[in-house]
């Protein structure tokens, strides 16, 4: 009897140990904190966009911790941490910081820096360590043609930036056929204009001028003189901020009148109008997000998408508090914040912080936030988010395309340079 009891106890203990061992293998590892590493651009060339992105990230981290209650893993809510370094907007600094965040700080994912070039610079390092690399400011399609497995995009792909612009003009004015493309010789702008050229040809537009200019260009007069001679109806140009302001200004200096001018990146920034005054009237720009868009939990429900994150106004409030400045966030802030939301949802769907499992969960994830819809293809390229087009009208940014997101009508053709000099505003009657 005694022997039977001992054998019974031993069997029970063995069985218990076995069950515990199996549980230990299958139960998710719950960390004390989930840490996102951030290669921020707080100084250097991209300091402006970098500051916006930084504010957006901080705002959403705060929302996740204080409103969402943390990141849900294995039935527990875990706080979200934010470890960041300033990359000085330099490629060589980006590569070393990505490595440092992974190997020294042991973060759970890395948020890529702003711009396609810098995102591309850090991608191979993240890939080497099998680390999830959340791209919020690198729009070039080429990033996703390298075969990287761990990179996931939130910003829309560069090739689609001008699709809406061209569709809109094609619909409004079928007689406007002559297009000029003049853009910064850089990864992002090249991809944007390649996409624009392809779509323009599909719609029957004629490319009458196509030139690039180098980064940090200080005078565009020779290029714009040649552009003027090509007599385009529509000009698609730009690249980043400095050159976009120069572009608009020197088109004015040379009296280049076109029906429509759309500049990537710079025209959408609030600083564009104070820098150019009435010369900015009627200038358009493609954007990923603008204050005033109408994405909401109700809109998400209508199209059957899960909603996560703050509303637009809550985000603006969090953003202002995060930066300690009374400024309205632009799309750089929104897309960076949305990248954090995607990562948090990815962890919660995967019920794990393992990069491979989160990446697999992100593959299947579709959701909507204040930033709009989010969905990726198998390469990690963003395919769910729609671009919008804005135009400067009476000193204000007005969303003019697509119709479902528009807050106003397009002013077309834009006022001439002489009319603008006399103070004419591009406000539709």
């Amino acid at each position: 009897m005694r022997n039977k009891l001992i054998i019974g106890i031993i069997c029970f203990l063995v069985a218990l140990g076995f069950i515990l061992a199996i549980n230990a293998q299958t139960a998710p590892k719950v960390p004390a904190k989930v840490i996102i590493g951030d290669v921020a651009c707080l100084s250097g060339t991209y300091a402006k966009a970098g500051e916006q992105a930084f504010g957006g990230i901080k705002a959403i981290v705060k929302w996740v911790n204080e409103v969402h209650g943390g990141v849900k893993i294995g039935g527990k809510k875990v706080p979200l941490g934010h470890k960041y370094y300033d990359s000085e907007s330099k490629k060589e600094v980006v590569t070393s910081l990505v490595e440092r965040l992974i190997t020294v700080d042991k973060v759970n994912c890395v948020l890529a820096p702003y711009s396609s070039g810098l995102t591309l610079a850090g991608a191979p390092i993240a890939e080497k360590y099998g680390m999830l690399y959340m791209d919020h400011g690198g729009a070039s399609d080429r990033i996703f043609q390298q075969g990287y497995k761990y990179i996931v995009q939130t910003i829309g792909p560069g090739s689609r930036y001008h699709v809406g612009t061209l569709d809109m003009i094609h619909k409004i004015d079928p007689t406007a056929k002559r297009i000029a493309l003049a853009y910064e010789d850089d990864e992002f702008a090249r991809m944007v204009m390649m996409g624009a050229e392809k779509h323009a040809e599909k719609l029957g537009f004629k490319i009458v001028f196509k030139r690039t200019y180098p980064k940090k260009v200080t005078d565009l007069t020779p290029l714009l003189s040649d552009l003027k001679a090509a007599k385009p109806d529509i000009v698609l140009g730009g690249g980043h901020y400095e050159d976009g302001q120069l572009f608009g200004r020197q088109m004015g200096d040379l009296d280049i009148n076109v029906k429509s001018l759309s500049l990537v990146a710079s025209a959408t920034l609030p600083a564009y109008y104070p820098a150019l005054g009435t010369l900015a009237e009627g200038v358009m720009g493609p954007s990923h997000w603008e204050y005033g868009v109408t994405y909401s939990p109700e809109a998400a429900k209508k199209i059957g998408l899960e909603w996560i994150g703050p509303t637009q106004d809550e985000f603006v409030k969090l953003f202002k508090a995060a930066l300690g400045k009374d400024i309205i966030p632009d799309y750089h802030a929104a897309e960076a914040g949305a990248a954090v939301l995607a990562y948090v949802l990815g962890i919660e769907k995967a019920n794990s912080i393992e990069p491979a499992k989160v990446r697999a969960a992100l593959d299947k994830l579709k959701f909507m936030s204040f930033y709009g819809a989010w969905d990726i293809d198998e390469t990690g390229l963003q395919i769910g988010h729609s671009m919008i087009d804005m135009q400067w009208q009476g000193g204000k940014r007005v969303i003019i395309w697509p119709p479902e997101a528009a807050t106003g009508k397009l002013y077309y053709p834009m006022p001439t340079i002489a009319e603008k000099a006399k103070g004419k505003l591009a406000v539709p009657k």
């Binding site: 180098p214 020779p222 901020y241 150019l276």
Partner: protein
Amino acid sequence: MIWEQLAGNLTQGLILGGVYGMATMGLSLIFGVLRVVNVGHGPFIMVGAFITLWIFTTLKLSPVIAIPVAFIMGMALGFIFFYSAMRRLIKAPELATLLATFSIGVLLEETAKLIFGSDFQGYNWVVGKIILPVTVLPMSKLYALIGSVVIAIFLYVWFNKTRAGTAVRSVVEDSEGARVCGINVGWVYAFSFAIGIGLTVASGVLLTMFIPVGINPYMGGGYTLKAFVIAVLGGLTSPYGAFFGGLIFGLIENGSYTLFALMPGVEPFALTRFLSFFILLLILLIKPTGLLGGK
């Protein structure tokens, strides 16, 4: 048609070249007198640009007023940096002065960022245009050129016709000889450094009159590179040589663009840069003191 475009671009290039030249005079003066290569040259241009922005947008005054203001503020900065850092480094190895001027540049950039933020700012000074048969010239650009020419003439007269200018030239020729003759060489160094910085900061005003947008703390980098090419072109130690170097550079840059654009499958801007640095290399090989420089 092509000749029209070439003439138009050369006209624009001549005006821009004048402003580039002005932006290089300070660099040449400092190198000529102190033998210090100011690699922090661009950030001083940025200071001038922000002074203009402040005068135009806050005080609502013409950018022309900003020229003397920037020059005086630039001289003050020059004296501060000379007596706090450069004075101790004049006889130090070249690397020390390179690092010191680089550090001063970074200091200025980050201070500007702290004060003005990282936005790309600009101002809109509308003073009319001249419509030429080959191009359109905004009056603001013409004023920038006139400002550059006037300052270059003043510098020439000061350098060659005044006692102070003669003292500076004697220090350039032989600093020990000048000291023996009773010239306060230390003061000449300080004064030349301050004038060099004053000219550079004032050139920031003229550059924004030409291009009144894209004003931000890091805008100086591109101009530093161009200033070095122009300084070599015009003669490293000759400030007014640098002015002519600027004119030549502007003409080459804009003129070659039109010609390179005729070559099929070529991006002209890339080739104009290639040409600029090819010419720089050629001059360094053939006449290391620069086209218009002496010994």
